[in-house]
Symmetry: C2
DNA sequence: CTAAAAACTTGCAAAATGCAATTATAAGTT
DNA sequence: AACTTATAATTGCATTTTGCAAGTTTTTAG
């Protein structure tokens, strides 16, 4: 288990399993992808479809349909950009905000439950380390830019 | 960004993007799922189908088909268990081993590239922290056991 | 020796995906 | 202004992935 990749593989698999079970709010059943989408729309300020799709590394046509189904669920809304009418701006509906906040809370509850098996010092060290790691990934040329092919 | 969930969300998204682009070996194009499958078969000692499917949190019927396609690609083989003929034992073919090792190497190269943007101390701290975190998840009742519903 | 359970597979229908083509708007060129 | 090119988003269609229900084969229990 000295292999860095192994550590990350196990971790992401377990986090993935968590996600699978963690996205049901108010009878609203969300897939992992949908929760990512809500998260990202919430985080950015009135992003365009392209922007979010690229951030998530999702094909724009697939993304278009994902947005459509979230609109049907009344969680997301599309607003035409006044300065460029080709562009639609995404935002959460009030219900979407509630659902997103609830998911966030559930995830944090789960994480805290896991952290209860670690010391406070270990937890803080972990969080600080991940923050650094995320920054390092941001600097990397190989990551986060959905390089096609 | 003080929110633990945010840190993990960003991290897993970026690692997920990495995975998307990282699984092409010798003309063999593998999906993320398939690489997880190879990884897990490699890691366990002659596991049964059920075992791997459960570990990965995949429905057994879906898993059965995933194995079939990896067998067609000549990366995985199924061996009937001599003591219980209902059970099939999974293992990698020589080619499967090569491919799996190559993916492992590619992933580690990527990780090292990211680590080059961190100090050696920070990297070691990160890896130690993740190890602790994985252990903590293992102790958690809410995780890693694909609880249905 | 029959019934129940377990491991795995297949049928089928639903959902997700991505490329190609289309619509609508914007920007650049002559 | 007229025309071409580029960009944002959607739709058609075919492929792949998924999971439940049902089936086969083998093992275990009563």
């Amino acid at each position: 288990m000295e292999n860095p990749r192994e550590l990350f593989q196990i971790m992401t698999r377990r986090l993935g399993l968590l996600n699978k079970t963690c996205c049901s709010v108010d009878g609203c059943d969300l897939s992992v992808n949908q929760s990512h989408l809500l998260y990202e729309i919430d985080r950015s300020h009135n992003p365009s479809m392209q922007q979010v799709a690229e951030t998530l590394g999702t094909d724009i046509t697939t993304f278009s349909r994902q947005v459509q189904s979230l609109m049907k669920m009344n969680l997301v809304q599309k607003t035409p950009d006044p300065t460029d009418r080709r562009i639609y701006t995404l935002s959460l509906t009030p219900e979407g905000s509630r659902v997103t906040a609830t998911i966030d809370q559930q995830m944090n509850e789960f994480l805290n439950e896991v952290f209860s098996n670690m010391s406070e010092f270990e937890t803080e060290t972990l969080l600080r380390s991940i923050k650094l790691f995320n920054e390092a990934m941001g600097k990397s040329s190989k990551c986060c830019k959905p390089v096609t092919g």
